[in-house]
Symmetry: D2
Subunit: 344 residues, 4 copies
């Protein structure tokens, strides 16, 4: 079985394993106060051109989302999100568990836009009964989205603008950030991206690391005392160095972008093949996830050899399948997959 069902089916980039092994018997402080974490923070600040940023390392995405959101909101506030947002549909209510409502807006291809956000805020404050409803306290988007799409620079600027206007933070879930920045449609650099976010994270788990998400807060005044929140939320790794070491490897010699580009190249090959073979593309994604429509019988045939993610059933009985590539995807496995697509 060859797996394209998610982007976390392997371990870590060999360079990360090498560095973990090399440093294994170094003795360090715990909880992210060690020199490797400090080094990784510096590398990330440089890559983002945010010399004043605070950088915090957490273990996984759901944990990071819940911790950041709980830190940024007051108890009566909620997080605006696409109705397809990870926090709304795939985290077992982790945000609600911290006491906050997700204010879901209808999405197109996984995205929401500044106009919707502005309307949501305007309507809240215009209502005479506003205190009887959850106050929108932040905007959450994913980049790339759960459907592999990305926001343009202009769209990001518009979202950032409305957040500024209402004084609420824009928080970007970058679990797959590398795959967004590395794709052909991306018109934004990491420093530009960092300038347009109040809080964002650089995903490691899906992009080369064993695990780990690096939260970047360009203006740290927005999340004071965040380390207490990490500890309280169970995200403060005792051997925090493991996160520092991994992000040091990823942000040395541009490794993070190199592995991201590899995933995109392989995904683009699948995308091209699907189009060429006449498959209906369900959502046209420039990043590492491809969503395509396929007859159920063919899907069953295909998945005898290749694990895919069954996204949903369509009304006509066809299925929407998702194929993911990653830093670890082997070119020959993509060859085989395309070959099989041709034959079924």
């Amino acid at each position: 079985m060859i797996r394209f069902n998610s982007d976390y089916t392997e371990g870590a980039h060999p360079e990360i394993l090498r560095l973990l092994e090399e440093t294994n018997f170094q003795q360090t402080e715990g909880y992210g106060m060690d020199e490797w974490c400090e080094k990784a923070r510096d590398l990330i600040r440089k890559a983002c051109e945010c010399p004043e940023a605070e950088v915090h390392f957490l273990v996984g995405g759901t944990q990071t989302n819940a911790t950041v959101i709980a830190a940024a909101l007051r108890p009566y506030e909620g997080a605006i999100s696409a109705d397809t947002g990870h926090i709304h549909v795939h985290e077992t209510g982790a945000v609600e568990h911290t006491g906050h409502k997700v204010l879901a807006l209808p999405s197109v291809d996984g995205k929401i836009n500044a106009g919707q956000v502005k309307k949501c805020l305007e309507e809240h404050f215009a209502s005479p009964a506003f205190e009887h409803t959850v106050r929108p306290g932040m905007v959450y988007i994913s980049y790339p989205t759960e459907y592999g799409t990305i926001y343009t620079k202009e769209e990001m600027e518009a979202l950032h603008g409305v957040c500024r206007e209402y004084g609420i933070p824009l928080f970007v879930d970058g679990a797959r950030l590398g795959y967004g920045l590395a794709c052909s449609e991306c018109d934004i650099t990491l420093p530009e991206f960092a300038r347009l976010c109040d809080i964002f994270y650089i995903g490691g788990t899906k992009v080369g690391a064993l695990f780990g998400e690096a939260v970047v807060v360009p203006d740290p005044a927005i999340l004071p005392n965040f380390r207490y929140m990490i500890k309280q939320g169970g995200g403060m790794l005792a051997k925090g160095r493991l996160l520092g070491i991994q992000f040091t490897a990823l942000f040395t010699d541009d490794l993070y972008m190199k592995v991201s580009k590899h995933a995109i190249e392989q995904s683009d090959r699948i995308r091209a093949a699907l189009k060429e073979l006449g498959y209906r593309i369900y959502i046209d994604s420039p990043t590492n996830q491809q969503f395509f429509v396929i007859d159920k019988a063919k899907y069953d045939e295909l998945t005898k050899e290749f694990a895919l993610d069954l996204n949903c059933f369509l009304e006509n009985g066809e299925v929407v399948a998702r194929a993911c590539t990653s830093w670890a995807t082997k070119e020959e496995n993509v060859d085989r997959f395309i070959d099989k697509l041709k034959r079924i």
Copy 2:
């Protein structure tokens, strides 16, 4: 600087790194549904002689404590704990964050006893205003405790008995479980231990792993649907295999106990030296933590070369220092430490 300030100053046992590397490009399912997790679960069930047990893997101790406690209690219930218990003093209110009070009882050397627990329960139910107070819904103890002490089998049986009597679970934080089971004063086997707990965990982070805690629930009916809780609490590792691989290594060829014994041998050497040199032992610990009283000036001198944990100041100005060993402690570093103790 040689570190004895905690038991998580290094990476992982080389065998764990080796297995991680060997399996790095295997493709697996995520979230703990892979074959390595299944294998580790089997090994643990066997070691505990609990064929029916559910075994769940989480990343760290605070996360595990909060997740288990939130799963086991109803909203109006609290967890009985020693006032020195990790959940009461060193988790930034992670348990309260899930809505539950820690019901702290006075402790002796980090321990509480069955009589105290029984009294607490009796008093709650005898009070005409019981509904105005938090209902004791479980008992939390650490084995070994935060002060390195352990419960005897008889003490465990008594605690287990009172929990049975009141129909509440006994939950044991085993972040350092190996160091308890491996010490000379331990009169209980792992299977006996498992029989006396309703829920406990086998700590990996401090005992040879990079990270990871294995929650064992001998009678799974006590924690139904626990995987939802893990996900909601941010503890479900995407690459769950990392936990399965580590615990497979630890529970193969008795590695977990071997590394534990090594830590105890080194700790016993420090303990013997401290006694021989006339240091006042603050709490007499048979496990991997030694608490001793030392003049502040000597402490400052000692910690120029050896990192220790300053536990507290005594009224007379002396300090209580903690020295930890672990699976990774080098014999020659203990030699040097003892040598230094002699010279100051």
Copy 3:
């Protein structure tokens, strides 16, 4: 200014004030343990023909909803609700504050149906990633709904059936229960209603009382230890007798239904007038709330004399206005309102 903007614009039915005054210097136990509460509980059990029911008194609707839902769910569960449900839109996230997600389903005229609920449950359990999503743990409906509509007996039976099938409770918000049971379209008796709910409450605040909601749990095993929850949620009134006295008055000589019928008669007069005058009825409500479409200029003219609730703006600039009657509505004020409607 004559108020039709809500159903809580006056104090209480004079009989309630009389009984409060008559009993004012009686000395009683606190917290709902007094003889008036006991008497009211008995009267309610009789009215519901539920001799085994537990009856609890709380102060207000939001508090009752949050307390019941928190008591009935496990942490990873959410409450299925219409997207127009009070808990989803008008309680400032009180349910999320207790850690639970509201699982909103699209509604028609404020209602959801058994088919939708069944589909939601089926989809949850069919998903291989079900543990990554909130588990539907109960169904919440309002009777009457926030739009004044009611469920038929058949619809209630179907909802009850699907809840039984999946073993989750059906919880009915009866903040305006009397106005539902008293309306001409109602085809269900209070005992039949009670049989089809697992938990429901009889609203006092909007139906004759100063305040107070009576939670009825026909099978008390569903909400064990609920008094702890009431206390924790801040809903246990020190002078609980005030609730017992009020519900005793309301359930003596059928007062609850008498005052409800009065509200319906006045509302029906408004409804008839609106139809006769050619106003577009936005949602056709047989209960005490009328929703009608009106030109904004006319609305402004109307609301110089009569307070209404502006429900929403339509795309064409017209507004949807809500007019409420209640136990306290004066016939002559309805006359004046209808007269004004004719003249604008």
Copy 4:
């Protein structure tokens, strides 16, 4: 049975009932936005000499404590309290339910002092592991305390001073505020009191009202958007006017202090009698609660006619009984009680 077991055994002062009846058919806005609430707010601002204060009305004490504390703290902060504080022992974990730990300090006669608070704060910030512990975010005291004692002006100033020094609010639970201000040992006026608190409330439930607590925030910037919190916490009474009307009555013609003084006079009579009769006073209280030691057999005899609160058992088998007076206590009932005390 004559009740001295609590201070909420009757309804409300007749003047309150009269005003409720007089205004019963006035139509008003809901949720505290009516003219009676506005009037009561003005009266309270004047009585406190706090022209800028925000005044909010909630229904009960537990609800008020939990709502204020949740509003004032960040998620990782806790409330410092006496270990005898109501929030620590008698609210079923309502504060923890909102996610916050109560940081209990040892108390003397129900009181804590500025030195303890300062030490607690100093130790938190001095610890290198401070982020692993709950951050003290406010100080909670009761005035009078749960044991009937009061803080002197000097003690209040010292507590206020340490709170200023650390930039955290001082929150005072004034469920029995009138009984403190009216007692002979009180050396502080209401305006002085208001100046030394950041947030406090004026208890109505125990001091003449049917229910209701008036939260005063002299500098409203400390609790921004507090009405959202009240709504979310279930404390926003639909017919908010009921609170406005009651506090209008209480703060007209000095009624609040008049009824408070009556309770104190009656309590002082009991206190004098107890001393004269040689009963051991357990805690010497100048307010409306008297705690005295009595033989169990005598207690049983006494409570055949007079309901008392059994506070605790002493080691020698004697009991500590509590007798409460209130605004409603009848002089002749105190006569009878003293007479009985003499005869047993």
